[in-house]
């Protein structure tokens, strides 16, 4: 029971931090808003004209996007870590985000040249296809080399190749769209709008639910594939489910915010460290909440430190995420 109380306390703390970050995010910006305006809005009333517009049309959609996509990234990373039975895996480092990015860039440039309109669903679809191709490539390597470090190096290489091709495409795109495309390809929540939310909120929620239903199987799989098989689990089908879910999550993020680094690797690790458990049924929601909080925090810094100039989100997530990953590798070396 003591253990459960501890879990509840930690979850409550994470949620409080999340709420705190949401409020700070609403208040901070080129026009600073007082707490009074926010509470009035939340209470269902109206703030003074311009404040309400800023909150409802600019800040809130961005907050919602950062929170949902941050959670999606953390979960995507967790599922990949489960797949490779290795904590140092994530959609960005394995080149999966960059694969999605390349596919979306192709779609965008294609639409500009061919003159067809693209919608959110097409973006997610393209990103998903790109993510799966990149994953297939990484998997092809993983069956040949059994070393996780080589696999990660290969993933990083795939990432570089996709990024340089994307860069090439962006350079030759129509002038007027370069700015947009360029910002997106670096990773940003700046373009957030409510209409995208109709696509990513259901997708992310669906994936979280699916992951929760897999949690018991993920737990069994922690003890190795043979063991999972001996419990009557269809390991092949389970692994396909993992790849599809993690691909769908990272594709959703890439389609709307571009590639975002380190959230996927670092957040599940933070969850495991503070909760001191490996149980997926606890780690999955914790990772999602931490991913959301982490992205809100990083986005706050990205848009406010050098305001009005915005940093790319990955520039900030890397500053905080990379040290966590380095620490994790050192810890693993000494603990094995």
């Amino acid at each position: 029971m003591k253990k459960n109380t501890r879990y509840i306390l930690i979850f409550v703390s994470i949620i409080l931090i999340l709420i705190f970050l949401i409020i700070i995010n609403i208040m901070t910006g080129s026009v600073s808003l007082g707490a009074g305006d926010i509470f009035r809005l939340l209470a269902g009333g109206h703030a003074e004209g311009i404040s309400e517009k800023i909150i409802m049309d600019i800040r809130l959609p961005r907050i919602v996007e950062a929170a949902f996509l941050g959670g999606a990234l953390a979960l995507s990373g967790y599922l990949l870590q489960t797949f490779f039975l290795n904590p140092i895996a994530g959609p960005y480092i394995l080149g999966i985000s960059s694969g999605g990015k390349l596919a979306v860039a192709l779609l965008m440039v294609g639409s500009l040249q061919q003159g067809f309109a693209i919608n959110s669903l097409m973006m997610v679809g393209a990103a998903f296809a790109g993510a799966l191709v990149a994953t297939a490539f990484v998997l092809m390597i993983s069956v040949r080399v059994r070393s996780m470090s080589i696999l990660i190096v290969c993933g990083v290489m795939v990432g570089y190749i996709c990024s340089s091709v994307t860069e090439f495409i962006v350079t030759f795109a129509d002038d007027s769209n370069i700015v947009n495309l360029h910002n997106w390809s670096m990773g940003t929540f700046a373009s957030a709008g409510w209409k995208d939310a109709y696509v990513y909120i259901p997708t992310v929620l669906m994936c979280i639910a699916a992951a929760m239903f897999l949690s018991k199987t993920i737990e069994a799989n922690l003890f190795g594939e043979s063991y999972a098989g001996s419990l009557g689990i269809n390991v092949k089908r389970f692994r396909i489910a993992l790849i599809i879910l993690s691909g769908l999550l990272s594709a959703t993020v890439t389609a709307f915010a571009g590639p975002v680094s380190f959230v996927g690797i670092a957040m599940p690790h933070v969850a495991r460290s503070i909760l001191k458990t490996e149980r997926p049924v606890i780690i999955i929601p914790a990772s999602v909440l931490l991913g959301a909080a982490f992205c809100l925090f990083c986005d706050l810094l990205a848009r406010s430190i050098f305001s009005p100039v915005e940093l790319s989100i990955s520039a900030v997530t890397a500053v905080f995420g990379a040290p966590i990953v380095i620490y994790m590798m050192i810890e693993r070396r000494t603990h094995v």
Partner: protein
């Protein structure tokens, strides 16, 4: 009725045959030991017997029914498997480890019923690891870890337990503890055990029957430990120079 029956079975992976012409049976409430040199195919035979890989030829029967006719659910409510796979598990208590053995019984999200809790308590008690329930599994000694894994293997209350060299990396005292626990289990619960082991000196005490797999991957000899564990035969099976077996094990 035999619990497990191999009828002229070939085992291996893909096109690679590891062992063939295997015919033997495993009887209820007995410990049947699989012995033989490294590379003879003992692990592959155990994986085939537990349905983790398909036989390349012949037929494996579980309770007189071809193993291929079992659904995963049916098969693994009968059989529990303890392989040598050692994985890094991170933060996990011994109780967490044993709980996973209730996979097929627990709720959708892994919730435990009163019945699950009773089974966990009982199997951990039986193996003598209940006191270790809150300990970090990774910080246990090898002997304790193996006993926790044994508790996990029987927590699903299987009729048949298949184990691959469960005591290999234990010291002498822990080996004795482990095999004591196993013998108790067979006596109290009537579980059927098929086990591969390297400790020929312990086979005599532990096993009811011995199946010898030769270097060539054939069932070379089957019998009671008394019949099999003779100096001459051990020297032949393990390809030991004349007289050397006696010098070390005699």
């Amino acid at each position: 009725m035999s619990e497990i029956l191999f009828d002229n079975v070939s085992v291996g992976y893909g096109h690679k045959r590891v062992a063939s012409d295997l015919s033997f049976s495993v009887e209820k409430a007995e410990i049947t030991a699989l012995i033989g040199p490294n590379g003879a195919g003992k692990t592959t035979i155990l994986k085939t017997a537990s349905g983790l890989i398909d036989a390349l030829g012949g037929e494996v029967y579980i309770k007189d029914r071809p193993i291929s006719q079992f659904s995963r659910n049916e098969l693994y409510s009968l059989i529990s498997v303890m392989m040598t796979e050692r994985v890094r598990t991170g933060y996990m208590s011994s109780h967490d480890v044993v709980r996973v053995g209730r996979y097929r019984h627990s709720g959708v999200f892994g919730g435990l019923s009163a019945e699950d809790k009773r089974a966990i308590r009982e199997s951990m008690d039986l193996i003598g690891v209940w006191e270790l329930r809150d300990e970090d599994y990774n910080k246990l000694s090898d002997g304790q870890k193996q006993r926790v894994l044994l508790a996990r293997a029987i927590v699903s209350e299987p009729g048949i337990l298949i184990m691959d060299e469960p005591a290999s990396f234990l010291d002498m005292g822990r080996k004795i503890e482990f095999f004591d626990a196993l013998s108790e289990l067979v006596k109290n619960k009537g579980i059927t055990v098929l086990i591969s082991m390297h400790e020929t000196e312990m086979v005599k005490k532990v096993a009811d029957r011995v199946i010898c797999i030769s270097q060539e991957g054939r069932t070379d000899r089957i019998g009671t430990p008394g019949d099999i564990l003779t100096t001459d035969y051990m020297e032949k099976l393990y390809r030991i120079k004349d007289g050397r077996y006696e010098e070390y094990y005699g």
